[in-house]
């Protein structure tokens, strides 16, 4: 489904990602782990077109997408969330989701301005779809929360809303950058279940960056460990977690307590 071929991303003298080969199969949930600065987010930025890889190629369903415009890449079927949560803060919760249906809807400025029936119908459909997507998180983001501005949401709800917004673009592949960061244990448990449901109910292929090893253990079909932009281990959770290089990468940085 998604394939990295010898992808290198260099900033000045620093290779954040170095000759990386990764294959993600359809319907798989793959976790990317690694200490801070390992190049995980950079990887996401390369896939989504925010960076153009210095070398190598990224393939989606066999077609090259490296260096394409982020909006085009999204339209081809890749959606993401951001590590530092980038919502449209001054728009309402439901508007955040509705806005993300932009590429699949047609109303133009004239049909909207004239209030044509086609435009009205589309507006109703978009709204219904947004409500449906928000109800994916149970009652967390429904009812009175629809009209709240996004900035008024709690941290966990912001992360949920970001996922709902990504879903609204109708992706085939979903990239989640630390979805459980800043969540309490109960919320973390919930998000683990949500990720599993995303695969089954929405038919998605999912790539997750996560530091919380309980989440990684709970969701992953496969785990890939990065350090200094290089893949140091790959396999099921147990084999990667106990891999000597991985242990060293974490311990060496004094970050073993992350687990």
């Amino acid at each position: 489904m998604l394939e990295f071929k010898k992808v290198t991303m260099q900033f000045g003298a620093l290779k954040s990602v170095s000759e990386l080969d990764i294959t993600v199969n359809k319907g798989e949930i793959v976790s990317v782990i690694g200490p801070n600065g390992a190049g995980k987010t950079t990887l996401f930025n390369v896939v989504t077109g925010i960076y153009t890889p210095t070398e190598g190629d990224v393939l989606l369903e066999g077609k090259s997408i490296a260096g394409k415009d982020p909006a085009i890449i999204n339209r081809l079927g890749i959606a993401r969330t951001f590590q530092n949560v980038r919502l449209f803060l001054n728009m309402s919760v439901i508007e955040n989701v509705m806005a993300a249906t932009y590429a699949q809807t047609k109303s133009n400025i004239f049909s909207s301005a004239l209030g044509l029936p086609s435009s009205r119908r589309e507006e109703r459909e978009v709204r219904a779809r947004a409500e449906e997507l928000l109800s994916f998180f149970g009652t967390r983001l429904t009812g009175y929360r629809w009209e709240q501005p996004a900035y008024s949401l709690s941290y966990a709800n912001r992360r949920r809303l970001e996922i709902a917004r990504a879903l609204a673009t109708n992706p085939k592949v979903l990239l989640l950058d630390e979805p459980a960061a800043g969540m309490n244990p109960k919320e973390t448990q919930e998000i683990t279940e949500v990720i599993e449901r995303l695969r089954t109910e929405k038919d998605l292929t999912i790539l997750v960056i996560e530091h919380d090893m309980h989440v990684v253990e709970g969701i992953s079909d496969r785990v890939i460990a990065l350090d200094h932009g290089v893949k140091i281990a790959e396999g099921d959770f147990d084999s990667v977690a106990t891999h000597p290089d991985v242990v060293e990468a974490y311990l060496g940085k004094g970050s073993a307590d992350r687990k």
Binding site: N74, Q83, F88
Partner: protein
């Protein structure tokens, strides 16, 4: 890991601030808030519409009709800029050039200057389309730019337009010895044809007023609809976070271009009508001062808010007219002053006390001045308008007005500066003193120099507003990063 960003895990700002939102603000701002919540948009627009129709029907003062027609043009411009700046968040400093282009294009197609007399129903739509296309051309090099860079580039285009108009009064075409005057240069183009629609030839500002009213109704409805639907939402995402917007499949550059084009078309339309009303075009009407006024109107009303733009346009175009008359300007000055005290005082009790103190200070100064035998200017020379007449037994103006006026000015500015850093308690007593000095400076100096005063009072209003309501009259508070 990500920063925790102020909010604790699991808490929700909306819930946490529920109490605070319920607790109404006291004093004057509380009443404003309440009005803002209770009166529905439909009623507001309804009242506005009825008032506008009543004005058209019952006011036959030529001067007022002209002001109203100009206000209509200004309103279109403000609404257009609100699309570009308020919705899409683009700092377009070339905006008035499109207005100027529309006006000049109308002049060239509807006057003896080039001997072109196109029918209105042809020239106006054609000009709007061409202006939109011009907007598209300008947006081509600008589309990748944001913020300051965009501002500089568009400012440049605006200035190019002005230079082109000024220098195109003698252009020599190859094969033709004599130079041709295309734009009239700095002399402008006089004697334009009036609009003719449905066989009716427009006679004066009143006719344009009705046309403007119809256009405005359609324009406002159209903009509200666009704002609420697909394109409007996408514009907002561009303003909010263009990177996230792109990652959600929104083609940011195209949307920026679209905002430019729509803004240009609206400005072009306003230009044609403006030229029709004025009967002539002159280049100096399309420069910085107008741009500043439009921006002030959008910001004052609340960038991104449609009712805000309307209110802002009213204030910014009616205000300078009112301020031309000394009596009005004095009333306005005093009202702003009293309003400021009311807002800063926070409660009605403090407000009453402050006003009482101002009155007291006035009489105190009067007593001191007469005790010290300082020569004063006779009231008859300064107390001319009704308001200043009312003040003549309370206020003293010394004989050397210029000297004391300057002293007062310096004192006023120092006091205001001190006020901004003073403790609450001192502030309370400082406010009446500042008020008194402000009134003194006004009557002593500013009344004699009405032009400066006008600028000053508009500036003052903006400053006060930006302190009290940084989001503008009707704008929503915006959160940048939380």
């Amino acid at each position: 890991m990500s920063e925790q960003q102020g909010l604790g895990i699991g808490t929700d700002e909306w819930v946490a601030q529920h109490e605070k939102r319920l607790a109404r603000r006291s004093g004057l701002l509380g009443i404003l808030d309440l009005l803002n919540q209770k009166v529905s948009p439909a009623i507001r627009y309804g009242i506005l519409g009825v008032a506008a129709i009543a004005f058209g029907l019952f006011v036959d003062d030529f001067y007022l009709q002209r002001i109203a027609a100009n206000l209509g043009v200004f309103l279109i411009l403000t609404l257009g800029l609100n699309v570009v700046m308020g919705f899409a968040g683009l700092l377009d400093l070339g905006f008035v050039a499109f207005f100027g282009f529309g006006a000049y294009a109308y002049a060239l197609t509807s006057s003896g200057h080039l001997n072109q007399h196109w029918p209105t129903y042809l020239s106006v739509p054609a000009i709007v389309i061409v202006t939109a296309f011009l907007g598209y051309l300008v947006s081509l090099p600008s589309r990748r730019l944001f913020g300051d860079y965009l501002a500089i580039v568009t400012l440049f285009f605006g200035q190019v337009f002005i230079q082109l108009i000024i220098s195109s009064d003698s252009i020599t075409f190859p094969g033709n010895e004599e130079s041709t005057d295309i734009t009239g240069g700095s002399n402008g183009i006089p004697g334009l044809d009036p609009f003719v629609l449905f066989g009716y030839k427009f006679k004066g500002a009143a006719d344009y007023y009705w046309l403007l009213l119809v256009i405005l109704v359609f324009l406002i409805i159209a903009i509200i609809r666009v704002d609420r639907t697909r394109v409007g939402r996408a514009w907002k995402t561009v303003r909010e976070d263009s990177l996230a917007s792109q990652a959600m499949g929104i083609k940011v550059n195209n949307l920026k271009m679209l905002a430019f084009i729509v803004g240009a078309a609206i400005a072009g339309l306003a230009g044609t009508i403006f030229a029709g009303i004025q009967n002539s075009v002159f280049i100096n009407g399309f420069d910085m001062p107008l741009l500043t006024l439009i921006y002030a109107a959008v910001i004052l009303g609340g960038s991104g808010s449609i009712p805000g733009s309307i209110l802002g346009a009213f204030v910014m175009s009616v205000l300078p007219e009112i301020l031309r008359v000394q009596n009005y300007s004095e009333i306005l000055f005093l009202s702003v002053l009293i309003l400021t005290i009311a807002v800063l005082g926070k409660s009605w009790k403090k407000f009453a006390f402050n006003i009482a103190l101002v009155v007291l200070i006035g009489f105190l100064v009067k007593v001191i001045v007469s005790a010290l035998n300082i020569a004063t200017t006779p009231a008859a020379t300064w107390a001319i308008a009704p308001v200043s007449k009312a003040l003549q037994h309370w206020l003293v103006i010394p004989q050397s007005r210029l000297l004391w006026g300057n002293i007062g000015f310096v004192l006023l500015i120092s006091l205001i500066a001190y006020y901004s850093i003073a403790k609450e308690k001192i502030k309370f007593y400082l406010l009446p003193l500042i008020t008194y000095v402000a009134i003194f400076v006004w009557e002593d100096r500013l009344v004699i120099e009405p032009n400066t005063t006008r600028q000053l009072i508009i500036g003052m209003l903006l400053v006060v507003l930006m302190i009290v309501r940084p989001q503008g009259f009707l704008g929503k508070t915006r959160v940048e990063v939380l």
